[in-house]
Assembly symmetry: C2
């Protein structure tokens, strides 16, 4: 059975037709309407209708950047979209002749990496995505772990520095303030502000208005020492945070995705070193694998499509 996966991000909504092997056989993209829940719903319905005309699809899975009830029907809250306690699955099912499932985008991505990507074979898989913040999700023995209220996986908001940097979640010292594209950008700006000659390349970027997390990552890959050091600092905080996750959950595989993961070894080598140095009981236990994600930007839509396909088959 083919199914449609939808990944609603802060800026774009991506839709794809996905086969049973996790391959995207067709795709469409539309801007995410952030002003009204109804507009977002219309956009999803339009994308699904277009794709259904060209392919015989049997289910629709939506991965939303927000908190989804564990009944996989309602979006409690979305930071970037206008949804508050929105019964999205029911509304879409009213307008589409297909079964609809809604899940958190990180859950969908973790499922995709587990089923078709870097997490294959993991007993306990933790996905960490480093973007604006830190996204997270957990697959335990072949099942997405959603928590008692559907809100598991928010390790990005564990407090790692008392009275540390403010976080948009309203707390201070959250892990994502120390290991994310936004954290990288903040640190790069502060380094530029010192006027240090080390930061010449970053200062030039800043002058031209092009200082972004992606640009710093690109500079680091081109060999800029200061940028590489900033990424290394993110990597160290990443490893420390993974050790915190491992203390509680003891996974065998971490998969690291998101924009910042494009830094590759510049990020993951310091992360692995910090993890090995910080893991409680190190020396008496195996180290979990820390692997780069494999499905890139498609993980969310592939996972949402596959979860919807499996739910449709199970209820058929």
């Amino acid at each position: 059975m083919l199914s449609v996966g939808i990944d609603i991000g802060g800026t774009d909504t991506k839709a794809g037709v996905v086969d049973e092997a996790g391959l995207v056989v067709g795709r469409l993209t539309a801007p995410s309407p952030s002003l009204s829940a109804r507009a977002a719903e219309d956009s999803i319905v339009g994308l699904v209708e277009q794709l259904s005309e060209a392919w015989p699809v049997g289910a629709v899975g939506v991965g939303a950047a927000g908190w989804v009830d564990r009944d996989l029907a309602s979006v409690r809250f979305s930071p970037h979209l206008a949804w508050r306690d929105e019964p999205l699955a029911a509304r879409l099912a009213d307008r589409l002749p297909l079964p609809v499932l809604v899940d958190n985008d990180a859950n969908a991505a973790a499922w995709a990496e587990y089923s078709f990507g870097a997490g294959a074979g993991a007993r306990i898989l933790v996905l960490i995505t480093l973007g604006t913040g830190i996204g997270g999700a957990l697959v335990v023995e072949g099942k997405v772990f959603r928590g008692a209220f559907g809100l598991a996986g928010e390790w990005g908001h564990t407090a790692v520095v008392p009275q540390g940097h403010w976080c948009p979640c309203g707390n201070r010292g959250c892990w994502e303030q120390y290991a994310s594209a936004n954290a990288l950008l903040r640190e790069a700006r502060q380094l530029v502000a010192t006027g240090s000659p080390q930061a010449a390349a970053l200062a030039a970027l800043n002058e031209s208005g092009g200082l972004t997390g992606a640009a710093v990552t690109a500079l680091a890959r081109q060999g800029d020492q200061a940028s590489a050091e900033l990424i290394g600092e993110m990597g160290t905080w990443l490893g420390l945070g993974l050790a915190n996750v491992a203390a509680g959950l003891d996974p065998d595989v971490f998969v690291v995705g998101g924009g910042l993961s494009r830094a590759g070894g510049l990020l993951l080598d310091p992360a692995r070193a910090a993890y090995a140095r910080s893991l409680t009981g190190r020396g008496f236990r195996p180290l979990a694998d820390i692997r780069p994600a494999r499905l890139g930007n498609d993980a969310g839509l592939v996972g949402a499509a596959d979860l919807a396909r499996q739910a449709a088959l199970a209820s058929a």
Copy 2:
């Protein structure tokens, strides 16, 4: 079926005959021999033999303060005992005519609280025990969650303060250095050392050589303001740490046990306040219940006995 539960602590080994309702119908205690693995094994065998003479028991469960493989057979490492990669279940089964199961003591206690105590009905139960350090365990939808390598639940060793207090695990800033009987004792000593008149009652305890975590807890319950404030500080750190656990795991119930939990509301009220103030997404999600443990010191042996009984029935 009756089964024997054994709880091997750092000082005492407690053994009990437990029925299917979790009641301890008979019990024995012996000092824990810490010098050799063989002596600990002899002690367990002796306790089981004595209890088997008086009751018709069908299985033996051992809860060990240490890291137990997820096959529930070997103790990888025990901080207080002489076990290193010790195939304890096989050694005991060689010497006893009964099926033997070995599990981590916190796992056993969490199972007992879930089955017969404060955690009844929880979808996702997190047990936190505040003693020398912080013990932890997790029951997910009626099953103990052990992690990929059997080492889950060590939230006490998540780093919450960069460059914070040293921990016996070899790291700095671990949560258990801020919320445990040992942390309470350290803070009480430091307060006494200031010579503050606030600390008069604590100073008197110290003079007489009686300054322990339990004594500070007792003073606080008798109304000593300084002691109550110290316990309140532990409670605040407890709540902050529970919010960290909830960010990742989203449980519906926390059960708090261990010696320090005898402080009751002096500990748990500030913990609940700090939890409600620190939980990420507060206002958009339900708050988990934070409940005092109900089975006290018996939780470990009751849980070990019940896990062993269930394993014996399942393999029969």
